[in-house]
Amino acid sequence: MTNSVPELEDADCILITGSNTTSSHPLIASRIMKAKEKGAKVIVIDPRRTHIASLADIHVKQNLGSDVAWINGLMHIILKEGWQNQSFIDERTEGFEEVKKAVEGYTPEKVEEITGIPKETLREIAEIYAKSGASSIVYCMGITQHITGTDNVKSLANLAMLTGQIGRPSTGVNPLRGQNNVQGSTDMAAIPNKYPGYQDVTNEEIRKKFEKAWGGPLSPNVGLTVVEMINAIEEGKLKGLYILGENPLVSDPDSTHVEKALEDVEFLVVQDIFLTETAKKADVVLPGASFAEKDGTYTGTDRRFQKIRKAIEPLGEAKPDWEILCMVGKAMGSKGFDFPSPKEVFDELAELTPIYHGADYDRIEKEVIHWPCKDKDDPGSPYLHKDGFARGKGLFTPIEFKPPAELPDEEYPFQLTTGRLPFHYHTGTMTRVSPSLTHEVNEAYIELHPEDAKALDVKSGGRVRVSSRRGSIEVRVLVTTGINKGVAFIPFHFAEAAANRLTNAAALDPIAKIPEYKVCAIKIEKIDGREA
């Protein structure tokens, strides 16, 4: 997030898109509700009438994967009406003319045709967002899990820069991180192209710094992403895979393909707290510890350092994951894994990570610190881009609309999108063994529009078979007007009816390599009583 969570409460306008905030980030939704009580306008652009959408001042259901079009459409209107923040554009950005040209063609009429958003509503949204004192954009995977994920995010950045709604409190472009430590694991370079702190592996000077610190030569080549590694197994290039605390067999797109890869890989290590679907495929399973059984830090979605503290001893012979990793490092003959506790690991990583440099366990204990925190006197940064962007001037990027990779056709006439429920979490490894949560819901379902349900001759509670070009699952039906005709939604928590058997792994965003989970084409068939 460019801004911190508490700041949301003081925004004058909050534009939420691709985030089911009440389900996936309830305590951020709490701030948004507070903001609304204080008079903020809340706008939700989402293909489903989610809970947060039902509470909004304006909710519009865009067609799946049409985000670049409506964002360009907003900019088109803002420029036509002269609502842009010209002094911000002049002083703080570059590339404005190209974007101005690019959005010229996105007339409200054309945008309505692509997105299904009525042109009057689009104009209203443009006016509220541009003219409010402090407008904040909040988004989540509904924006990023598309082949145009990077385009979508850049378009939102264009919109924020055009109106100067960034670099001040309660403004900004705010992605909500889905997992407790997605921010931290990305900061810590669990990504194939960076060292900790977003330092390029291809930059020689930086590589030398890390070679010196870690005492050995490092690879100058960008590595493979999760999806590429799975493909590399199939191509015979990747022989050994170490999986820490993830369940790709359920979380990754096209599970059938992932399952085969995990069976085919020569050596698979899984370190987890449960014998997950993925762990069952392993050659070695190492029992880690839950968050209650170890010390360490997480970095929250607003770049805030947080401690976790050991409450109990690890169960049985399980060990804290940091300790296991040190054992493995040492067993491989390396000297760089001699740490008495996570505190010393943090000291080493902070030394090498400029954005973490000023943080340490004592400070995190006493202060609320958001990175970048460059030295011990730096109080940290609740919001970014105050006096300038990381690269100097904010760069506008002209973006053209592209349709999703897989569009409905005669054989697969419906569009599927996926997401979370408030009662479960990701692949359900933890939530589906929690009685309070399974009491609420413990089974997958498909949301269908009443007209579609009627045409299929199914009612709420009935069962259907849902198939895509990649796989097939059986689920119960939930009929709702909260979704457009022709669109269906399945929550992805349930391994026995995994939505990701259906999703399209082949379709990746060319830059972020994110799979297009949020749109694929499916067919739906009624299962009659006897068969079910």
Binding site: P26, S30, M33, H51, S54, L55, K366, L421, E440
Partner: protein, 271 residues
Amino acid sequence: MDKLKNHVKELLESGEIAGFLGLIDDGGHPVPYLFTKEHLDRLDAMVVPDFRYPMTDILLRIVRKYPEETIGVMVRGCDDRALVELAKNQRIFPELVRPVGIACTKEMAEACRCSQPYPREIHYGEKVEGVNDRSDLAAVESKPLDERLDYWMGQFSKCIKCYGCRNICSMCFCDQCTLEDETLIMTGQSPPEIPIFHLIRAFHMAGRCIDCGLCEEACPAHIPLRSLYRKVREDMADYFGYVTGMDESEKDPLEFLGSEGYEVPSKIDET
């Protein structure tokens, strides 16, 4: 503060209590903690902050495991009212609970709009008078009925079904919770079915709610739950002359409704 610490120390040292449930400073953050004879030095870090944890709710978890021990507990006015109700409902034996009383400051009493910001016995702080402010109820009651319904439906529609109102509540001690009864409230929905989810809880608060307001503090959706339960509490006083949390010997009239030989205590006939 030293007087308070010494009092607790004496209780622990003399063996009068097996443990004292209070708050301890943990890196600048007060958190609940059970002080024991074995670690008397930790009393140095005991604190009385200006916010509250559900002390009597935590007490129940300890009592359930140690039903025969005497436990001391830090109580404010609200916690003490909870103890009265827990005793009535046989969740604690009063002789096995030793309350150590804290009188709330004027600021706290006003912030909480608390009608009785002090416990029966005070060991720390100066007693200040209660605040009688029902402006929240008056504001709702001034609306015409249909607007009032809209108001509450609007509030309830924000609910994310966290069950925080129930979880934080010292009076929600039932083994089975009606809010989880699938035949009454459909599971798996957020917001839950409204208004039934909230009205069931409100009805269950009649004769129970001690007006501590912890539910409202715990509500992520900022629903003015306390006003709802205050109304129920007020009705119990108006119709039955019954006020929760005052007298251990007085029984909840709703427990006896329909029983033979039970005389409704006050003015139900007049209404």
